[in-house]
C-alpha cells in the first residue's frame, strides 16, 4: 500500500526529528486529508465513474421550512451499483446531497418494518426492493413517496399512530386461560398448529397493507389487514383456550372488523413478508359465521 511506503520515507529522512513533532505533522496531514473530504465532490466523481446511474424523484414536505410547506418532488442523481436497493439510493442521496432528506430506516434487512414506502406506485419496503427489479430502472425516474392514506409528517415519514392504535385494538397479546403448573413446563403445541399460525406471526408492522387498502382509506375505523392478521395469530393459536377465542372473534367481527374486507387482495400483494392476509381475514369471517350459526 502506498501509505506504508510514505511512512518509511518519512521515518528515514527525519531520524533526528523528535517523535512528537513527527507525530504532530502526521496529525496535520490527517486533518487536511479529512477536511478535504467532501461528499458532494465524491458523489460527482462516483457518478462519472459509474457504469450506470439512476434518477430518483422523492416527495418532500416540511411544515416548518420555507419552500417545503407545499409538497414538492426533488430529483437526485445517484450512481447505480449491483445489488443497490431503494433504501441505499435514498441513503446515498441524503448523505451526499441533502442531509435533511428524511425517512425512517433501521435494520436494512426487512425485519424492523420502518421503511415501507410508495415506490413507483406500489407499497414496498425500501431495503428489500432491488432497484434492478424495478421496471426500466435505468431509463426512467424512480418515484419515491410516503405511504398513501397516511398523514405525512415530513418528507417520506408518515404518522403511524393510527396504525398502532388499530394494532392494539385487537388485544394483541397472548392470554392463556391456564398455564401448566410444573417447574419449567411449557405448554404443548403441535407442529401443525404452529404451522397454521406461522405466517401470521411474521408481521413486522410496516403498514404497507393498511396503506394499500381501499377500504381502510375510506373507513378510518376499519381495523385493517395487519390488525386482523394479528387477531388471527392469537385466535388460531390452540394454546389459548376456547373462551379467549370467543372474545377474540367478538372483537374482529364488530362493525369495523372483518366484514369490511372486500377481498381486493391488495394487502396480500404488497405484504413484504408474504403473509396471506386476505386468506386469514376470510378464514376469520367463516369462523365468525360458524360461531354465530351455533346460536341460531
Amino acid at each position: 500500500m502506498s501509505t506504508e511506503l510514505k511512512e518509511k520515507e518519512t521515518e528515514a529522512e527525519t531520524e533526528t526529528e523528535s517523535a512528537s513533532s513527527r507525530q504532530s505533522r502526521r496529525m496535520e496531514q490527517k486533518r487536511q486529508r479529512a477536511s478535504r473530504r467532501d461528499l458532494k465532490e465524491e458523489a460527482r466523481e462516483e457518478i462519472d465513474d459509474a457504469d450506470d446511474t439512476i434518477e430518483i424523484k422523492v416527495f418532500r414536505f416540511d411544515p416548518e421550512v420555507a419552500g417545503k410547506e407545499e409538497p414538492r418532488f426533488d430529483t437526485f442523481h445517484v450512481p447505480f451499483f449491483k445489488g443497490m436497493t431503494v433504501l441505499d439510493a435514498l441513503i446515498y442521496a441524503r448523505d451526499h446531497y441533502d442531509t435533511s432528506l428524511t425517512f425512517r430506516h433501521s435494520c436494512r434487512q426487512a425485519i424492523c418494518g420502518s421503511d415501507a414506502l410508495f415506490v413507483n406506485g406500489t407499497q414496498r419496503l425500501g431495503c428489500k426492493t432491488q432497484i434492478a427489479d424495478l421496471e426500466d430502472h435505468l431509463g426512467s425516474t424512480i418515484r419515491i413517496e410516503p405511504l398513501p392514506h397516511q398523514e405525512v409528517v415530513k418528507d417520506l415519514v408518515v404518522d403511524m399512530e393510527h396504525f398502532y392504535d388499530q394494532m392494539e385494538a385487537v388485544e394483541p397479546f397472548f392470554d392463556a386461560d391456564e398455564l401448566p403448573e410444573g417447574e419449567l413446563e411449557e405448554q404443548r403445541q403441535d407442529r401443525e398448529n404452529r404451522e397454521k399460525i406461522k405466517m401470521s406471526t411474521r408481521c413486522i408492522w410496516c403498514g404497507a397493507c393498511m396503506s394499500s387498502c381501499n377500504i381502510a382509506a375510506g373507513d378510518n375505523e376499519y381495523l385493517g389487514p395487519a390488525a386482523i392478521n394479528k387477531a388471527y395469530r392469537f385466535a388460531m393459536d390452540e394454546r389459548e383456550g376456547e373462551d379467549r377465542k370467543q372474545q377474540r372473534l367478538n372483537i374482529i367481527e364488530q362493525e369495523h372488523g372483518v366484514w369490511r374486507c372486500q377481498t381486493q387482495f391488495s394487502c396480500t400483494e404488497v405484504c413484504p413478508k408474504d403473509i396471506p392476509l386476505t386468506e386469514h381475514i376470510q378464514e376469520l369471517k367463516r369462523e365468525a359465521v360458524k360461531n354465530n350459526l351455533k346460536f341460531w
Binding site: D165, N250, E255, W259, N292
Partner: protein, 122 residues
C-alpha cells in the same frame, strides 16, 4: 381506540345473507335470462304470455322470492358500498332509511304488479 369497537350489532348476519342471496340469485337470474331472452324473446312478450307464466304457483313464488332477494342483495350491496367509503353518522342513517323505504316501495309495487299479472287483481 378500543372503545370504538364495541358494537356487536351486525355479527356478520348481513354479510352472510348477502352470500346466501347471491347463491340463490345466480340460479334464478340465469333462469330468468334464459327464459325471457332465449326461450321466449323479450320482443315477443305479451300480457297473455306473462299471465300464463304467472298463474303457475311455482313460477309466481319464484318471481316474488327473486324480487325480494334481488332487492335485499342490491340495496344491501349499495349500502355496504357507501358505508365502506366512510359514510357515517346522520348521513348514514338517512341513507339507510331512504334505502329501506325505497326497497319497501319496490317490493310492494312489484308484488302488486305480479298480482295484476297473475290476474288476481285487475
Amino acid at each position: 381506540m378500543a372503545e370504538h369497537y364495541s358494537s356487536f350489532e351486525y355479527k356478520g348476519t348481513r354479510w352472510f345473507l348477502q352470500r346466501i342471496t347471491a347463491v340463490f340469485l345466480i340460479g334464478v337470474l340465469a333462469f330468468h335470462f334464459m327464459l325471457l331472452h332465449f326461450v321466449n324473446h323479450a320482443a315477443e312478450v305479451t300480457f297473455l304470455g306473462t299471465q300464463a307464466r304467472m298463474q303457475q304457483v311455482g313460477y309466481f313464488g319464484t318471481m316474488i322470492a327473486f324480487l325480494v332477494t334481488a332487492t335485499f342483495h342490491g340495496v344491501n350491496g349499495v349500502y355496504n358500498a357507501l358505508v365502506n367509503q366512510g359514510l357515517s353518522g346522520t348521513r348514514r342513517s338517512t341513507v339507510k332509511w331512504v334505502l329501506v323505504v325505497a326497497s319497501g316501495v319496490l317490493i310492494l309495487q312489484g308484488v302488486r304488479t305480479s298480482l295484476y299479472m297473475a290476474g288476481i287483481l285487475s
